[in-house]
């Protein structure tokens, strides 16, 4: 197993002690196949027990370990050292308040997630005893991609609109609303439109597409938002051209 010496430059911030964030350097002996998270764990276990960050699954599905790595929002468990130079800069996700070190405050994201009503609002009630709703593979495929979001919030760190306008509901939450809107079992689109089609919703998006580029699960929130814009525009015209439909 070949070893490689990496210099990690990690943003540190403890609100009880630091007036402002600072960088701390660690020299870490790394194995070739490691990811950045492995290097951080080496620091935590061997060099500096006070370094704070979130992680759990180490397989890119729990969504805990998003960070800025060399300036890019990345899951540190999937940031392979082989793709980086011998100096790596690690910072907390951009556009979020820092709680401590690499840990960011997620309250705002969690409340936005709830606002879009990300749960099935059934078209028609069906008792459990009557079994499952039928849904063909084709109907499933229509929304499946948008179910894959792991709430890692990399897309918020990448989004220039969210950086400018913190009230923007943002990519992940909007994509999740779209996921339920597209589900053949769901009838809740009208209820979600209140939030989704508001001025803090889809119309805030300027279609830069950075969210989809950084998404580790290829959810394509930018695509979801554009689809919702088209659907909302169609709504708008239909309301005016065919008012009898508004019943």
């Amino acid at each position: 197993m070949s070893l490689r010496q990496i210099e990690l430059e990690v943003l540190r911030y403890d609100p009880e002690q630091d007036d402002e964030p600072r960088f701390q350097k660690y020299s870490v002996p790394c194995q070739e196949e490691w990811v950045v998270l492995d290097a951080l764990n080496y620091v935590k276990d061997n060099l500096d027990g006070s370094l704070s960050y979130r992680w759990s699954c180490h397989m890119a599905v729990c969504g805990s370990c998003g960070m800025m790595i060399d300036g890019e929002p990345t899951l540190s468990c999937k940031a392979f050292l082989r793709d980086y130079g011998s100096k790596i800069r690690v910072e907390p996700l951009a556009n979020f308040p820092i709680e401590r070190d690499l840990v960011v405050v997620l309250d705002d994201f969690m409340s936005k997630l709830k606002r879009v009503k990300p749960y099935l609002i059934p078209k028609q009630h069906k008792p459990i005893a009557d079994g499952e709703y039928r849904q063909t593979p084709r109907q499933l495929k229509l929304y499946k991609q948008y179910t894959l979001c792991i709430n890692c919030t990399l897309c918020y760190a990448a989004c220039p609109q969210f950086a400018l306008i913190p009230d923007f509901i943002g990519p992940a939450a909007l994509a999740l609303a779209h996921r339920y809107n597209l589900d053949s079992r769901d009838g809740g689109r009208a209820e979600r439109q209140e939030e989704v089609a508001s001025h803090e919703g889809i119309w805030e998006c300027s279609f830069v597409g950075a969210c989809s580029e950084v998404c580790p699960k290829s959810v394509d929130p930018a695509g979801a938002i554009q689809q919702m814009k088209i659907a909302s525009t169609v709504d708008w015209y239909l309301e005016r051209l065919m008012p009898w439909r508004n019943k």
Binding site: D45, G49, H58, V61, C62, P118, L120, E132
Partner: protein, 586 residues
Amino acid sequence: METIQTDVVIIGAGGAGLRAAIALAEADPGLRIALVSKVYPMRSHTCAAEGGAAGVVKPDDSLEQHFNDTVGGGDWLTDQDAVELFINEAPKELVQLEHWGCPWSREDNGSVAVRPFGGMKIKRTWFAADKTGFHLLHTLFQTSLRFDNIQRFDEYFTTDLLVADGRVQGCTAIEMRSGMMHQFQAKAVIICSGGASRMFPFTTNGSIKTGDGTALAYRAGAPVKDMEFVQYHPTGLPGTGILLTEGCRGEGGVLRNKDGYRYLQDYGMGPETPIGEPVLKTMELGPRDRLSQAFWHEQKKGKTIETQWGDCVYLDLTHLGEARIKERLPFVHDLAKSYLGVDMITDMVPIRPVVHYMMGGIHTDINGAAGLPGLFAAGECACVSINGANRLGSNSLTELLVFGRRAAESAVAYINGGDKTVDAGAANDRAEASRARITALFQKSGGGETTSGIRREMTESMESGAGIYRDEESLKATCGKIAELRRRYNDIELHDKSNVFNTDLFQILELGSMLDLAETVAASALARQESRGSHQRLDFTERDDSRFLKHSMAHYQGEGPPRIDYLDVTITKSPPGVRDYSGDHK
């Protein structure tokens, strides 16, 4: 100290905790529910489950078949009344998930699809590609957002149960962002904190799986049951321990040794089945314990492949073709490629057994009630005994649904069954004691031990002494080692004195949980002088029903090792028989 008055506290917000919370909210919209977790719900380790959830739904299947597969798979250490209840409830729970929006994979006609899994006679595993746990967790979490009476306390680290007058009346927890201790005063507590496989060095489990909830209950006096039964999943990626779902074999993947030989046929699981035509309940679709044990024997024979990460065998999926792999196994395809650099479409994947699941846990009855009034448990942290000596793949996701709901309903019945007023004074005294324990950690200096050092010694000792095969000598060594580490644990110094998101502190507390539970694993294994399911003794190679058709119960004894006694297994209709996974079985 801030006090939260509530009706029910749930510790852990993974699959079981969320299912319990929804069941409570539906049972009574006026009920106050506090859902407490050291992580945000969607970070819970349920998200890492891949393969699927078992439930009888297809016309060619039957409840009886699911019962027999589960009881035999568990080597008759399952409680058969619990299994019967479980398999009866399973399909309803899976349909309920469907009604809440879970994106189950489908047949062409729109009905839910099922896939085969190890140890089952008929295929009955519901799946959402190879991210079933992820979808199940997110469906539950998102559904829970509908209920205003579920109050979440995300990133609160629970430190103690509040026990007064012989009843559990809440818990204490540290708000991780502020370091402030809170006390939750409640009429009932449901623990849903998951497993503890991080006590081993090589595991599929995420870093959060340190058994905190199980340890809380154990220290408070609730016994833990069958802790010696630790499941090794046969197909983990070397190095990282990342799981490659049993669905790989369900879809037709085969295991080969270094000569390309399908060695499972030499271990009672033959004859060899044709490539691309997997036969249920034999060869690669044998149970996890047998497959992991076969690896151990191949390793002894020198038939494994030496890699930089240790000895491996091959998982061969190359005959499945790109389309099927990308449709049914997209996640593990990506995982093997990313973390090992192997494309399973064209190349065989090196794999090895990896610690995956604890069959044991907080002893509960069939209603999810633990050994203390007011305490309930469900999911991997609990042992209601549907898994026995070896859990059948795809029963655990269903288990956390069935028993998450059931524990909630039992808690409601308990609350309504007489005066459960919290003794606020007594609860407060206990909470202050809990806070004092943490404060002492902050004030103590010197000692010279480190969390990572003791953790490393613990995991190494568990693997070497209480791994796939064990004997008296290895287990005694591990018992001695863990006892020593529990003493040395008191000399760990907390260096980080910050109140804000102090992971140095939480890692110390997690290590304490793991050490206490590791001791129950080793002690229960030493006392069980037989081989059954996942517990294999080189010095007692046969199952011994006359002495050990019993559950091990470990009772906390403070600084000393646990006291072990036994509880009879409930057998209703299936007397202990032979586990036959040969192709000739009926």
